[in-house]
């Protein structure tokens, strides 16, 4: 008899909806593979689920079939999550070993050493993993700051507040950004083009002005003294704001004043 864990083991949620069709053994249909890889934390997690919930009989698994299918995933996965598929494959290999040992008659009179028993090793790992899984759930249930409780705080008197905060050198900031860019490049296939800084600053300025007033006219944003370059920057900033859906342009009728408003859901 299989003893069930008390209470419900968490059922995997895929994009908010529960996964209803679960694999009956370690074979995962290729089209469900990605879902499974996301729903389970790895082969141990999947195996644990199968044993606890589906009464999986490890010995009865058609290991040859699973192995063949796992091999075909690898081709499928080359671009995706290869290392994870490899981990599932290692699990399949381990099950194959267990099965082959079970099928072979053990030599008469020789007591099999517990330490050599791959089943014992697998079970040790499964239970160790299950402990971690349960601990993680218990940890998540502990009351946590800013989620379950809040720190009580009162405004400090002024002098107290004026203690020197950390200073930052401009070069540190630039370096930090440089490193970020380098890192982002290493990890992303394509480079995104960004607006020049002057435009981005003007975008912030426009949004800042819209915080105090519900709408602005174009002329509010063209500052005399900045000359043509200033007009161009303001114009580009407005276009970019509209493109990013941060602002809306409104004109009652042709030729009349154009207003800039904060974008709202219903505009």
């Amino acid at each position: 008899m299989i003893t069930h864990v008390q209470g419900e083991l968490p059922i995997a949620l895929i994009e908010g909806s529960p996964l209803t069709q679960l694999p009956e053994d370690l074979y995962i249909p290729p089209d469900a593979l990605e879902v499974i890889l996301d729903a389970f934390e790895g082969p141990l997690d999947l195996l644990l689920y199968l044993i606890r919930r589906q009464n999986l009989d490890i010995i009865q698994i058609n290991v040859a079939e699973i192995t063949r299918q796992y091999m075909s995933y690898i081709a499928l996965l080359e671009a995706m999550r290869f290392e994870l598929a490899a981990e599932y494959l290692v699990m399949a290999a381990m099950l194959a070993e267990i099965k082959s040992r079970a099928l072979m008659p053990s030599p008469v009179g020789s007591e099999e050493d517990e330490e050599d028993d791959p089943r014992a090793e697998l079970i040790r790992r499964l239970l160790e993993y299950e402990t971690v899984k349960m601990s993680a759930e218990a940890l998540d249930e502990l009351p946590r700051v800013d989620r379950d409780f809040h720190i009580a705080e009162a405004q400090k008197p002024d002098i107290y507040k004026r203690t020197a905060p950390p200073t930052v050198d401009l070069s540190e900031l630039v370096l930090a950004f440089g490193e970020l860019l380098a890192r982002a490049r290493l990890s992303s296939a394509h480079q995104i083009e960004w607006e020049p800084l002057s435009t981005r600053q003007r975008m912030s300025d426009v949004l800042m002005k819209l915080k105090d007033r519900s709408e602005l006219t174009l002329s509010d944003l063209f500052i005399a003294g900045e000359g043509r370059a200033g007009v161009v920057v303001s114009f580009l900033a407005i276009l970019e704001l509209v493109r990013e859906g941060l602002c809306a342009l409104i004109q009652a009728k042709q030729g009349s004043q154009i207003y800039i408003r904060r974008a709202t859901q219903d505009v």
Binding site: D146, H150, I151, A152, E153, A154, Q155, K156, P157, D158, I159, Y160, T163, A164, P165, P166, T167, V168, L170, S171, E172, L173, V174, L175, A176, F177, G178, E179, L180, L181, A182, R183, A184, R185, L186, S187, W194, L197, S198, R200, Q201, M203, S204, L207, M208, L210, K211, E244, G245, L246, R262, A263, T264, Q265
Partner: protein, 189 residues
């Protein structure tokens, strides 16, 4: 609201809030439930202020609303805690500030996308409290995330007249991916 009193709700909210709390925000505490009137709120606030008479904090009204404040006479004691030399900002904080300075106006999600790590609320708070960044609006996408930008104080503190004076960080990248790949290619030849 049955067993938790209005006074207790306001008291807790005032202590949880880092900014002064307006009457409008106090009404928001009640969500879909019927909110108390301004008159009721002010009445409870007055009685709360009275209860804190003689304690180490007092409830006061400032421009932005109401807040609890540590009484001034304690200043000399609190000052004893702060003689340590200023700490440094973490790398995460610097990178977040850099993202906001160079890519503003930007949402937290956009910063996270480039950094590849979740941006801790505390980091944004630290930079806001420092007066270097501010929320300039909200992006009209689900969740209406705040749009962050740097402030005039940021420019002042870094000795910049405008953002255009920020050095071009792309020049500083020591080993971009392409170079690394080039190196690998050369080695394999």
């Amino acid at each position: 609201m049955s067993d938790i009193g209005l006074k207790q709700i306001l008291e807790g909210a005032l202590f949880a809030s880092r900014e002064p709390m307006s009457i409008y925000q106090m009404k928001k505490l009640f969500g879909d439930q019927k909110a108390p009137t301004e008159g009721m709120l002010r009445e409870v606030l007055a009685s709360l202020a009275e209860e804190y008479q003689g304690r180490a904090v007092s409830l006061i009204e400032v421009a932005g609303g109401f807040r609890f404040q540590v009484i001034d006479v304690l200043t000399p004691y609190l000052a004893n805690l702060t003689d340590e030399k200023p700490s440094r900002y973490s790398r995460a904080t610097l990178e977040t500030l850099a993202m906001i300075a160079y890519r503003q106006p930007v949402t937290r999600g956009e910063i996270e996308a480039v950094r590849g790590v979740a941006v801790n609320t505390q980091i944004v708070r630290t930079l806001e409290e420092r007066g270097w960044i501010t929320v300039v609006g909200h992006k009209e996408v689900p969740g209406r995330p705040a749009l962050l930008a740097t402030t005039t104080q940021f420019l002042n503190d870094f000795g910049l007249k405008s953002l255009e004076e920020l050095p071009n960080a792309e020049d500083l990248i020591v080993t971009p991916a392409e170079d690394l790949l080039d190196q690998m290619d050369n080695q394999s030849e």
